[in-house]
């Protein structure tokens, strides 16, 4: 049976639908009700929020090889700033911005590391937040995606494979580049090479010399330093000794960078599951999480 009724003609809604909404990341026009950008798969909520709140959020990238700890770092950072806003106050903008924090903190509290971030950009967690340093009235709107390491590697090796990465990194005001120090400690040079590739990719991104990555701040974070105590003592010296290529490239191509060491787990073990052996944290004792972000904030604001 067909029910007949009267539908009011909301012309303003039709007009809204007709107006194209550009993606905040890649600038591609999308329909007003699109959830993800049809081109780069970034959430359109970022564009809607920027439009509604009349702000132009700055973007930061946390990048590094697969399994280096990007999700853990970003999730832990957000959770720590949410729970103890002594040094930096962070307010999530939009419910979607809490997903990353929830995913990471819940997994760590269960005694597990969060599952691997999928390569598909439409399944990445994005964070849009407002950050304010203690005693500073100025707020900074930030957008930080949790990108998959495999996707980054693929994009670096074959540019434009992922539509979202190039425009995002071009627009970023700064970056946190992560390096697994336990792998450097075992004299594995893969981390060194991959980070060098990433830095080369960044250095070649911008044609405009005024906005080149050479001038933008880069925090180089040696992750999993809880398993390598010497890393905490002097991260820069550790990097110089263990990742000489990366060290030299930083000094040659970038002007504003700093090395940091971070650790989230106080100790790790392995658990054998049906899908193989997985690394699990024995306890959570975050160290050096806020410092790189705090430094980057100061540089971005300056």
């Amino acid at each position: 049976m067909i029910k007949q009724g009267t539908l009011p003609l909301d012309s303003y809604r039709m007009a809204e639908q007709a107006v194209q909404m550009p993606c905040y990341i890649c600038g591609t026009d999308n329909t007003y009700d699109a959830e993800l950008c049809r081109q780069c798969f970034a959430p359109m909520a970022l564009a809607h929020q920027a439009n509604a709140q009349k702000v132009s959020p700055k973007m930061l990238a946390a990048i590094g090889p697969s399994g280096v700890g990007k999700t853990v770092y970003l999730g832990m950072l957000m959770d720590m700033l949410a729970r103890q806003p002594d040094r930096l106050q962070m307010t999530a903008r939009g419910a979607f911005s809490i997903n990353l924090q929830q995913t990471a903190a819940s997994a760590l509290a269960r005694g597990e590391f969060p599952t691997k971030t999928p390569s598909e950009p439409d399944r990445w967690n994005w964070v849009h937040c407002q950050v304010r340093a203690k005693g500073d009235s100025r707020c900074l709107d930030l957008i930080m995606p949790d990108m998959a390491g495999e996707a980054l590697l693929e994009e670096v090796d074959h540019p434009n494979t992922y539509e979202v990465i190039h425009p995002l990194l071009s627009k970023c005001s700064g970056a946190l580049i992560m390096i697994d120090c336990t792998k450097l400690q075992t004299s594995s040079l893969d981390q060194d090479y991959f980070t060098m590739k990433l830095l080369s990719y960044l250095a070649e991104l911008d044609e405009n010399p005024k906005q080149s990555w050479a001038k933008r701040p880069i925090g180089l974070i040696l992750t999993k330093a809880d398993e390598c105590e010497e890393c905490f003592l002097d991260p820069a010296a550790f990097a110089q000794a263990r990742a000489p290529g990366l060290w030299r490239q930083c000094h040659e191509q970038f002007r504003n960078f700093k090395f940091f060491a971070t650790g989230v787990a106080g100790g790790c073990a392995y658990r054998v599951r049906r899908d193989g052996r997985v690394r699990v944290p024995l306890r959570i004792e975050p160290r050096g999480i806020v410092e790189p972000f705090e430094w980057l904030m100061k540089q971005v604001k300056a």
Binding site: A109, G267, Y270, R271, I284, E285
Partner: protein
């Protein structure tokens, strides 16, 4: 070299050796040259030995070692082995009362010394009564501890039930000041108190300046103003050696959990035990954890509200505590089947940087390489009731009465 010339005999030996070497070279006599070389070698060895002895010579302990970085060591006080009163006094000042209360020694003490040792025991250690305790079932390790506490009545504890004999447990963690007594008395050179398998590694247990001692000390001293801070940067083996030196031992898993969770029997087959020493709800005002404290180790006397029923302080928070138990294997306290990168010893209680509340409960167990010397791991010691002179073993009736009063009410 200057010392050789100061000693006339050594000077003659040195000259004779030199002449012998020269004569051996001139006459091409292997015997003469060899004798000269041997003489020089003996002198060189003697000099090395003196240097080594000067570096490692045990200094007689002092009651309260100064903590100031630049202050010189106090003058050494030598107590003659025959001076029993002096030795007992020194041991009491070093908090080694447990050693004096051993059955083998207590008979040699005067009544006032015995009383002093007992008072020290009561002041520094809390009695943990004999009884049962559940291990591994009190907390499932899920969630981040931010949920509402479970409503009363509390469910009976689950897990492996262990029987614990009565014991004394240190009220506080071992402090820098106490540990310095151990260092100054040559604890790192007394091989008899170290585990035999670790002897080769003892020389590696040095501070930041290469002197024997905890990792974060400098020149055998802890940072100024940290006398009553728990000692950290000590491996499990150093903790065990200190415990032996002081006449105690490290607590077992069950003993530690029993002291904190203070089980109450509900029936003959079940009992209830606390999640935290003060009750079942996390109260961050009572312990030094991430977000509730200053973000560093604090003095042992802080957070008095977090005391256990038996009077043990800071079981939760401030620093993790080494126990005798092994970690991992077929299943840990959280029921996880873990493969460890290295053998690990169990640590308990959480530290100032422990992030999640569910990892700072009486039941939560974590592990660490026994050779690790971390910034947030310390220890406290235990003493079995059977290790000290008890009423039934005393030969003197008056003594028996005194000792019986000490262990009165132990059985529950």
């Amino acid at each position: 070299m200057r010392k050789i010339f100061k000693d006339r005999t050594l000077c003659w030996v040195f000259l004779a050796s030199l002449l012998a070497v020269a004569a051996g070279l001139l006459t091409r006599s292997v015997t003469l040259g060899g004798l000269g070389l041997i003489g020089l070698a003996v002198l060189a060895l003697r000099r090395r030995r003196r240097q080594f002895e000067a570096e490692v010579a045990p200094v007689s302990p002092v009651p309260h070692p100064p903590a100031a970085d630049e202050e010189p060591d106090p003058p050494a006080r030598h107590v003659a082995p025959t001076d029993i009163d002096g030795l007992v006094g020194e041991m009491l000042k070093q908090d080694r009362y447990a050693l004096l209360l051993r059955r083998q020694l207590v008979g040699n003490l005067r009544p006032n010394q015995r009383r002093a040792a007992r008072e020290a025991l009561e002041q520094h250690m809390a009695l943990v009564p004999e009884g049962e305790v559940s291990l591994g079932g009190g907390d499932d390790g899920s969630g981040d501890g931010r949920e509402a506490p479970p409503p009363p009545p509390p469910p009976p504890a689950k897990g492996t039930v262990c029987r614990v004999a009565g014991l004394f447990l240190d009220r506080y963690q071992v402090t820098n000041r106490q540990y310095r007594h151990f260092v100054l008395s040559g604890g790192y050179e007394q091989m008899s108190i170290w585990d035999p398998q670790i002897l080769a590694a003892v020389l590696d247990f040095v501070d930041s300046s290469g002197h024997p001692g905890p990792r974060f000390w400098k020149k055998g001293r802890y940072p100024a103003g940290q006398d009553e801070y728990p000692v950290v940067g000590v491996s499990w083996y150093e903790a065990a050696a200190y415990a032996r030196w002081s006449g105690k031992r490290l607590p077992t898993e069950a003993e530690w959990v029993k002291a904190g969770s203070w089980p109450v029997p509900l029936s003959s087959t079940s009992h209830w035990q606390r999640k935290f020493p003060w009750g079942d709800t996390m109260d961050r005002e009572r312990c030094n954890l991430w977000g509730s404290g200053p973000g560093r180790v604090v003095a042992i006397t802080e957070y008095p509200e977090g005391v256990s029923v038996g009077g043990v302080y800071q079981l939760i928070g401030n620093v993790w505590e080494w126990t005798t138990g092994n970690f991992g294997g077929a299943g840990d306290s959280q029921g996880r089947d873990l493969t460890l990168p290295t053998p690990m010893k169990s640590i308990r209680g959480g530290a100032f940087d422990t992030y999640f509340e569910n990892q700072a409960t009486c039941q939560f167990q974590s592990g660490e390489n026994p050779l690790s010397r971390k910034h947030n791991i310390g220890f406290r010691c235990a003493l079995s009731l059977c290790d000290i002179a008890g009423g039934v073993h005393a030969s003197d009736p008056a003594e028996a009465d005194e000792e019986a009063s000490l262990t009165e009410g132990v059985t529950v």
